[in-house]
């Protein structure tokens, strides 16, 4: 491991840990990530595809601006970043000291294999006599005691599972490079001067083996949802075919049982794990892709908690288009079926009949493990805990939670006067290297290997072929490139020679990768002018075939050329549009980082929906931020003002706002945060307008919290959830209604204990810890009556009174209620922002919410770099969630605002203006809106902050007027030629 001074310590290398680490690295800090397991990636390593779009896209978490410091590589295969050092198999023992100067004691378990020497040849695994159930595949299939802990990761070397290792020494003998060391003494070490610590240890999933009624561990075909992921994974134990573990038979019928380990008071799990419902639907959809048409997928649930913005439509599609069956019933036990490999479920269906049904496989939707507490050091000052370490979060929740924790830590550091290293200064752009000033001179380094005995004759053959190449090639042989001696020799050769391009003919390139980075520090060589060909791994190959690989490498290098883009200055201020909870918290988070903020609010007051919020604690927290914002000299507040124009690119926007008086003001800013909010929806369902005692749940909240309510005679109150929502055209859950209705109901019960409260609901969406409110409501005797979209209750206004007709869920008979009040959960809608959408060129969903760049991985970015979104403008959210999103948006914005200028990266599109015909096809195809016409110059320009170098512009440009550095047309075609 490197000797870098770790300024920030991130504990846990799952989604949250990676996000927090990248956030800090992005704003210039050195980060050290410690991870208990031997691999980076967390639970995502086991999941190929995730909801709500059944894709992965984890790579979208990678830096988008300073990309050169981070490898452009699938994140499920490892995290490589110049400012991030990763310690796997390492745990925190203790944390002491003051924030800014923490001392952390860490304990590391040796991997048993030296990462510098291991070349992934796999000989150790072949000879290892110990086979144990494959933990990565959740116990399905077997692996050796020495193995790659995550088969698809080659970021770390092979690793020994000490629990099963017998130390027989076979692997040590077999290892050709002497990388295996059978020493498992734990090593404790200190890390001093840690500025802050982020706890992102994630959540452990419930182990259902303890619930004997489900027979997990006993029936092989009862599996957890994670095991199911491994079964359908192409890298899993069954290579992606959906078969059952007991007999390998194709699965024709599979059921998911929800809330295993969650929402279960018996095991102290009075919470909802929040992610399992969507997880199950996703698994059912993935299963359906693998199964035959007549196969069946059934989800048994209590409430289908589709509380995310687009989740309800996802569920509806699963049900209607993909034929996933949903059964509302908590199944209590699993029994073997007729055939002992089959599994039998007994349940009550919607017509209240008891049904017995056999399945091939049953998946237990396991949630968060109950009773798990954060370690004591988590509450140490200077330690920040990401949300996902507190409870199970879906991906966007984990990402936002990590951004919030990172943001709070960096605010503290700013306050303490601790600054990241000045990044702009020492970041040199690789494109300006001397290597490109001269004609390419290629040095070929042939590794003589220290292991393979007949390498010499192979190299003779290669060398004589290489000599036939036209042009000058310097060829040299070096012994054992994988060892320090070999590598030192390489450095010597580079320093002494005149070559400006380097080709290695050695073994696995994963072995060379980190070493090439090292070259950058010691020589003029950097990774863009280095290529390697693997001549040793795999089956024996013909000289001709090896020569082709080398020819390709040489061709690739000869065509590499310099980068000509210039850096882009950054205006270090922010524009926040909307002064509600989300906007306020974003503005304050930025101001706390000493950034000037322009806060523009349409109405005459700040606070947004604060005026409707009754909950005392929540009010206080918003008011506190509001006061801080109003008293902050860095925040310029413009009330009764509206944005009228905005132009520019990330880091450099010019906007104009107009006050109510007609006065206009021009604002220069580096980023824009949209926090335009939302409001209570209107509905005409359930005769909303026909009676004064039919009110929205927001009005109901006001009513029950009013002092006069106790004086009212209240005998019965009915609440109907999802009024006009969760069906087209407003087919989404508003997230706030269930909790609010339940709180209202409890308040009514508190004031009028004898009053009857009925809640008609479709699915109660008390996700996370708010489940407790639901539990309490049931305890307090509030009556819950479920209904479906086809069996909605009926509301009639009769002789001045209200009549609500529904169906009793237990008896199935009609019930008629005559409530004093009827409260309708109308939900929320985003504020109307068509004008802003047009000004910023961003997209909205069909419901008018602003679309994120990626709903999982980049939840507060918009498709336009430099423009961010948070709060109700993005999706339904509680005020506390909206405020967190505001902080997350501010944290994302800091990536840009913390820089004086945006440095061009190696991988960028470039326009050769002299031959550009300005046809603008490139502008139209660019997925990042990274291109624009500079009207003054009459040129097509590339916004280097937005351009990711994907090359779709270059592909559509007919005359290569636009090209991607390192992937120029001539280079690629020369490589193709060399390959044939």
């Amino acid at each position: 491991m490197g000797n870098k001074i770790a300024k920030i310590l991130v504990v846990g290398a799952g989604i949250s840990g990676i996000r927090a680490a990248l956030d800090f690295a992005d704003i210039g800090y050195q980060v050290c990530v410690v991870e208990k397991s031997p691999a980076v990636g967390g639970i995502l390593l086991q999941l190929d595809r995730q909801f709500p779009n059944n894709h992965c896209g984890m790579c979208r978490m990678l830096p988008m601006i300073d990309r050169d410091v981070c490898s452009q590589f699938c994140l499920r295969r490892g995290l490589f970043h110049d400012s991030i050092s990763v310690h796997t198999s390492t745990e925190v023992v203790s944390i002491e000291g003051n924030p800014g100067q923490l001392k952390v004691v860490l304990s590391r378990q040796p991997r048993g294999v030296d990462s510098e020497l291991c070349n992934f040849c796999g000989k150790c695994e072949e000879v290892c006599p110990v086979s144990v159930p494959d933990t990565f595949n959740e116990g399905l299939g077997e692996r050796k005691a020495i193995c790659l802990p995550v088969p698809h990761q080659t970021s770390g070397p092979y690793s020994i599972d000490w629990a099963s290792c017998t130390k027989c020494g076979e692997c040590e003998k077999a290892c050709p490079t002497g990388a295996v060391k059978l020493d498992n003494e734990h090593e404790t070490f200190d890390m001093e001067d840690v500025a802050a610590v982020i706890i992102a240890t994630g959540t452990k999933l419930f182990n259902p083996d303890s619930v004997d009624l489900y027979g997990c561990g006993e029936f092989p075909n009862v599996v957890t949802s994670t095991a199911f992921e491994r079964i359908i994974s192409s890298s899993g134990p069954f290579k992606g075919s959906l078969v059952r573990p007991s007999d390998g038979r194709e699965v024709k019928k599979v059921a998911w049982l929800q809330c295993v380990g969650s929402r279960n008071l018996m095991i102290g799990a009075d919470y909802c794990s929040s992610a399992c419902c969507m997880f199950a639907i996703k698994e059912a959809l993935l299963a359906r892709e693998k199964m035959s048409k007549d196969a069946e997928t059934v989800i048994f649930y209590m409430d289908m908690r589709t509380f995310g913005r687009d989740f309800q439509r996802y569920r509806d599609r699963a049900e209607k288009e993909s034929g996933v069956r949903f059964v509302r019933c908590r199944v209590h036990s699993i029994e073997p079926g007729e055939n002992p490999d089959d599994l039998r479920l007994k349940y009550v269906d919607s017509s209240r009949k008891t049904v017995e049904e056999d399945f091939d496989m049953i998946v237990l939707s396991t949630g968060k493990e109950p009773g798990r507490k954060l370690p004591d050091y988590a509450s140490h000052e200077g330690v920040f805990v990401a949300d996902s370490a507190k409870g199970l979060k879906d991906i966007s929740g984990s990402v936002i939670g990590a951004e919030v924790a990172a943001g709070r830590a960096s605010r503290m550091l700013k306050n303490l006067g601790i600054m990241p290293a000045d990044k702009d200064k020492d970041q040199k752009s690789a494109g300006q290297s001397k290597a490109f000033e001269e004609r390419p001179r290629v040095q070929v380094v042939l590794c003589e290997c220290g292991v393979i005995s007949d390498a010499g004759s192979l190299l003779d053959g290669i060398e004589s072929e290489l000599e036939k190449f036209p042009g000058r090639l310097d060829i040299v042989r070096v012994k054992s490139l994988c060892r320090k001696e070999g590598w030192d020799k390489v450095k010597q050769i580079i320093r002494d020679g005149s070559a400006n391009r380097l080709v290695f003919a050695a073994c696995n390139k994963n072995v060379l990768g980190p070493k090439i980075k090292e070259l950058e520090e010691d020589t003029e060589i950097f990774d863009s002018i280095v290529e390697s060909a693997d001549i040793y791994s795999g089956d024996e190959r013909s000289i001709d075939s090896l020569i082709k690989d080398l020819d390709m490498a040489v061709s690739r290098l000869r065509s590499r050329r310099a980068l000509f883009e210039h850096s882009q200055p950054v205006t270090g201020s922010a524009l926040v549009i909307g002064g509600g909870p989300a906007g306020l918290s974003a503005a304050l988070a930025l101001a706390d980082h000493k950034i000037d903020v322009f806060l523009v609010e349409k109405s005459e007051t700040l606070g947004g929906n604060l005026k409707y919020i009754i909950d005392k604690e929540l009010r206080q927290s918003i008011e506190e931020i509001l006061n801080k914002v109003e008293g902050n000299p860095r925040i310029k507040i413009h009330k009764e003002a509206e944005l009228i124009t905005s132009s520019g690119i990330s880091g450099n926007f010019t906007s104009k706002i107009q006050m109510k008086t007609g006065e206009q003001k021009t604002i220069l800013h580096g980023v824009t945060i949209l926090a335009t909010g939302g409001t209570a929806a209107e509905t005409d369902s359930y005769s909303m307008d026909d009676h004064e005692r039919i009110v929205s749940l927001f009005e109901m909240e006001k009513l029950v919290n009013d002092a006069s309510f106790s004086g009212q005679a209240v005998k019965s109150i009915v609440m109907i959830q999802c009024a006009g929502t969760r069906e087209e055209p407003r087919n989404y859950c508003s997230r706030v209604c269930c909790i609010k209705s339940l709180n209202n109901a409890l308040k009514i019960k508190q004031i009028h204990p004898d009053a009857e409260v009925y809640i008609f609901y479709r699915d109660i969406m008390t996700y996370g810890d708010s489940e407790r409110i639901y539990t309490e409501a049931r305890k307090k005797g509030i009556v819950f009556i479920p209904f479906d979209i086809d069996t909605k209750p009926e509301v009639l206004v009769e002789s001045g009174g209200l009549l609500v007709k529904g169906i009793d869920p237990v008896l199935g008979v009609p019930v008629e209620l005559k409530p004093d009040w009827l409260s309708l959960a109308v939900g929320v809608v985003p504020n109307f922002i068509k004008d802003l959408v047009k000004i910023f060129g961003i997209e909205t969903t069909q419901d008018g919410f602003i679309k994120e760049a990626d709903s999982k991985w980049r939840p507060v970015d918009t498709g336009q770099e430099g423009i961010f979104v948070c709060g109700l403008a993005r999706a339904p959210a509680r005020a506390d969630e909206a405020m967190k999103e505001g902080e997350a948006a501010a944290q994302r914005a800091l990536r840009i605002l913390s820089k004086n200028e945006i440095i061009p990266q190696r991988l960028l599109a470039r326009v050769r203006h002299s031959i550009c015909s300005m046809c603008s096809l490139c502008i139209e195809v660019c997925p990042f809106n990274a291109r624009y016409i500079d009207t003054a110059e009459g040129k097509i320009m590339v916004d280097i902050a937005s351009c990711q170098g994907c090359g779709t512009c270059a592909a559509i440009c007919p005359n290569s007027a636009t090209l991607i550095v390192d992937f120029e047309d001539d280079g690629i075609m020369n490589v193709i030629e060399a390959a044939l």
Binding site: P470, C919, V925, D970
Partner: protein, 367 residues
């Protein structure tokens, strides 16, 4: 209802159109007119930008010749809005190319008045010059004597797009006794305004037009299909194709003549194909021998990749080929399949997106 006016021709249809164009200028309905024009030095009609109504005398709006596809010249006049109205008199293939160029942001058609005519085809430049040496007014004889119309280029004979698309005004010759009268038809509001402002009396569209169009279409389609099948035969395998283009000199005339090859500089002239000596030598070493200039086949096929969706079949590429390679036949044949794949007709409609800019969002499972 389409606005339609009848114009008397008195055995000189060219003169009739000239006077219409002249009136458009003198009535200030347009500021300039781009129209084929016979210069003092040659009989070939050259696209010429006319501002002075008196200069219209030498215009040859209906000349059955086109030394090149004038879409590029029209585009250069219309590169960006200038606040002036520009009328352009173009053949159908030229209008279609112009519309493609507009999609490629090479010009803006907002201020343009597109005037097209029922195209009876063009005669190759050398034949035209030969004929011009013998005859004063080829245009009139071309329309008076239908046997002369058999002398048009092979690619014109196979062109089914003889009626203008999207023109503001169409000079209607189909089904008309051209020596007596022709039609002027408005296709847009701008066109109608011009007919009104010129004070032309309007009538219902004569019935003969459609019948004549259909019969010509049938003839042209037959010729086209014959061309396709004969050309397919010439390129159907790489051996045959190599023979067909064997005499290509890499002069790039075809690309220069192509109205939809809009690049400022062709990629084949850039560093992308300026191979280093090492590359050429390595190529020779690997294959034993390499013909230079290299990449002849690559050139033609790349050009197809770039513009086959937009090929309007004007035939200029064949006309300019010094080695008599049937470039146009090949491009039309290959392009037809590409255009069919994308259900795309170049120049049909300016609002129709270029195929490569639209792509279906697939469902998650890729099925």
């Amino acid at each position: 209802m389409t606005m339609y006016a009848i114009l008397e021709t008195n055995n000189n249809p060219s003169e009739t159109i000239r006077s219409v164009l002249k009136n458009m200028l003198s009535e200030k309905l347009v500021d300039v007119v781009l129209v084929p024009f016979k210069t003092e030095y040659s009989s070939l009609p050259m696209p010429t930008l006319i501002a002075d109504p008196e200069k219209m005398l030498q215009a040859q709006p209906l000349a059955p010749a086109a030394p090149f596809n004038a879409a590029r010249q029209a585009a250069s006049v219309l590169r960006y809005p200038t606040g002036k109205k520009v009328a352009v008199v173009l053949r159908t293939c030229e209008i279609r190319a112009l519309i493609e160029l507009a999609k490629l942001k090479q010009c803006v058609l907002d201020e343009a008045i597109l005037i097209g005519f029922d195209c009876m085809g063009r005669i190759e430049n050398d034949s035209y010059l030969e004929m011009a040496a013998q005859e004063e007014d080829i245009t009139t004889s071309f329309y008076a004597d239908s046997s002369m119309q058999d002398r048009i280029t092979g690619i014109c004979k196979a062109c089914e797009y003889f009626q203008p698309y999207g023109a503001d005004l169409t000079i209607c010759l189909l089904g008309m006794p051209v020596m007596e009268k022709i039609g002027l038809m408005a296709g847009t509001e701008a066109g109608e305004n011009i007919i009104k402002s010129l004070g032309l009396s309007t009538v219902e569209q004569p019935e003969g037009r459609e019948v004549a169009a259909n019969s010509l279409l049938q003839k042209r389609t037959e010729a086209r299909d014959k061309l396709f099948s004969e050309t397919s035969e010439k390129i159907k395998d790489i051996e045959k194709f190599q023979k067909t283009i064997a005499n290509c000199l890499n002069c790039y005339n075809c690309r220069n003549a192509c109205p939809v090859c809009y690049c400022k500089e062709c990629v084949f002239l850039t560093d992308v194909f300026a191979h280093e000596p090492e590359v050429l030598q390595r190529r020779a070493a690997k294959r034993g021998a390499v013909k230079l200039p290299a990449d002849t086949t690559m050139f033609h096929m790349t050009r197809l990749a770039h513009m086959s969706h937009a090929c309007v079949g004007c035939g200029q590429c064949s006309s300019v080929c010094p080695s008599s390679i049937p470039v146009a036949d090949i491009f039309r044949t290959v392009s037809a399949k590409v255009q069919e794949l994308y259900n795309y007709v170049p120049g049909r409609d300016i609002s129709e997106s270029i195929p490569y800019l639209v792509f279906e969002e697939e469902s998650s499972n890729g099925k």
